[in-house]
């Protein structure tokens, strides 16, 4: 089971909504993964297979070792599916 960690600055609002959307996307793809959301500081120390977040913030986690998914529009389920399809 892969683990997807959804990230935003506070780990409260937008990451939560993205988590709900990622779950919806997984359901539509017929795939399973463990999905949770948190803030950047915690994300740095929490291991996950995929780190997902809005484009303007997730890049700060990109140190070459992590698998990153950057979203333009956090509400775009199709974009989430397209980005996740080859990573799961």
């Amino acid at each position: 089971m892969k683990k997807i960690l959804v990230v935003c600055g506070n780990g409260l609002g937008s990451s939560f909504i993205m988590e709900l959307n990622v779950k919806k996307a997984l359901e539509q793809m017929g795939k399973e993964a463990e999905v949770s959301h948190t803030d950047i500081a915690t994300a740095r120390t929490e291991p996950a297979d995929i780190y997902l977040g809005a484009k303007d913030i997730i890049t700060t986690l990109d140190d070459g070792t992590r698998t990153i998914v950057a979203l333009e529009n956090v509400m775009d389920i199709e974009q989430i599916k397209a980005q996740l399809s080859d990573k799961l």
Partner: protein
């Protein structure tokens, strides 16, 4: 038995929110394991908020005494997490009740009025519920009346603020898919309006090069630690080692002591954020699930960073403009006999950035700059005006940070004063 139910079970806010989560999970027909873990986590989230409050208050108390010694005026640090954590002690039950019934009101209003918005920023729902509980208590309401009035007002806030912003959100996102549900709306509305008249949207912020190095301030715990350390050390220098080492630190070095207190405050905020995250984790999906069934064509109203990817440069420009306004306002507030509102990086980052995106959508670079600057003035003056209206809560050296909380609090107090 009745006493046990009414006073001990329903009168203990942590148990009350646990019950709400339990009902929500049952309604979604979750399996036993999810129901048990979800209910326990919700209760734990509430307890964690209380624990964070203890940490925050200790550091704030020291800050307040140092500030008073240094400048002989009151210094206040607006921080939603801090004030809500502090308020839970006195208004926990009312806050929990208003939050849940306010969400139900939101669904009712979305179903039967043209304002078809479902407000999904759970932590802001909690903060507004907390503000309403405090303001209405100070206004003399209590019990069922307080909860009823508070819930209706919260439900109205949850549809009217997103509706106010929607024309601008359509411009920003180029679609009508979602709304912005974040209680800094007044600042965003003012920013978008200023942009419309003062700028030109053809000159977008996105055509200029903006250094990306400021991105680390998006990290709340870093931003809070950094601001608080600067603040504490500056205030400590003015207060002087003699006072701090004899009165506060028990003899340890005044600068070292101040740095640790600053980081302690940031740690308290981090704890409260973790608690809030756990508290709303079960409630928001349940709310969304029910809303999706009841209001099929509703728009979700989402947290402000959802608009950040549409104009990343406006985010940085907006933050800087708003923070500059906060710094300037700090020196003017005492002239009006108001408490000094110390600009916090977090409220200025999130609301300043959003105001920048709104101003850019209507008025380009100039719109982003002027609009976010106006937002910075709003979140300096409004919290200062709100402070005397919060009763005993107002003595805590912290207050609500975003514009709508202060706007709603000031309006309610004014309306109540007409009738009393």
């Amino acid at each position: 038995m009745l006493d046990l139910i009414m006073r001990d079970i329903l009168g203990t806010p942590a148990i009350l929110v646990g019950l709400f989560a339990l009902i929500g999970l049952m309604l979604q027909k979750k399996d036993v394991a999810s129901v048990v873990s979800g209910t326990l986590k919700t209760i734990m989230g509430f307890v964690i908020i209380g624990a964070g409050a203890g940490v925050i208050i200790a550091a704030l108390d020291i800050f307040g005494r140092m500030f008073d010694e240094a400048f002989s005026i009151r210094g206040v640090i607006p921080n939603n997490e801090a004030i809500v954590a502090v308020a839970q002690d006195a208004f926990g039950v009312e806050t929990a009740m208003i939050m849940v019934f306010g969400m139900i009101m939101n669904i009712v209003l979305a179903r039967f009025t043209p304002f078809k918005y479902i407000f999904l920023t759970g932590h802001h729902t909690l903060f507004m519920a907390s503000l309403l509980a405090a303001i209405l208590s100070v206004s003399g309401l209590d019990g069922v009346v307080l909860v009823a009035v508070g819930s209706v007002l919260l439900g109205l806030c949850m549809v009217l603020f997103p509706a106010l912003l929607q024309p601008f959100v359509r411009q920003i996102t180029g679609s009508d898919d979602f709304a912005v549900g974040h209680f800094g709306s007044l600042g965003y509305f003012v920013s978008g309006t200023i942009g419309k008249y003062a700028g030109n949207k053809e000159h977008s912020t996105e055509q200029i090069k903006v250094p990306k190095q400021l991105g680390f301030l998006r990290d709340t715990s870093v931003a809070v630690s950094l601001t608080m350390t600067l603040l504490f050390v500056v205030v400590a220098l003015f207060a002087g080692p003699a006072f701090i080492e004899s009165e506060l630190s028990g003899g340890s070095n005044y600068i070292v002591f101040s740095v640790i207190q600053a980081i302690t405050f940031a740690a308290g905020v981090y704890i409260v954020l973790a608690g809030v995250r756990m508290l709303i984790a079960e409630i928001v999906p349940a709310f969304k699930g029910i809303a999706d069934k009841m209001v099929p064509n509703a728009k979700p109203a989402l947290d402000c960073p959802t608009v950040f990817p549409f104009a990343p440069n406006a985010v940085i420009i907006g933050f800087l403009a708003s923070f500059t306004a906060g710094l300037i306002a700090m020196f003017f507030l005492p002239l009006f006999g108001l408490a000094v509102i110390v600009p916090g990086l977090v409220p200025h980052f999130f609301t300043g950035a959003t105001a920048g995106v709104f101003g850019n959508a209507t008025g380009g670079r100039r719109g982003a700059l002027l609009g976010a600057f106006a937002n910075g003035l709003l979140i300096s003056f409004l919290p200062a005006l709100l402070l005397p209206l919060l009763g005993n809560l107002g003595f805590e050296s912290t207050t609500f940070g975003d514009s709508d909380f202060a706007l709603v609090g000031i309006l309610i107090s004014w309306i109540v004063s007409l009738f009393t």
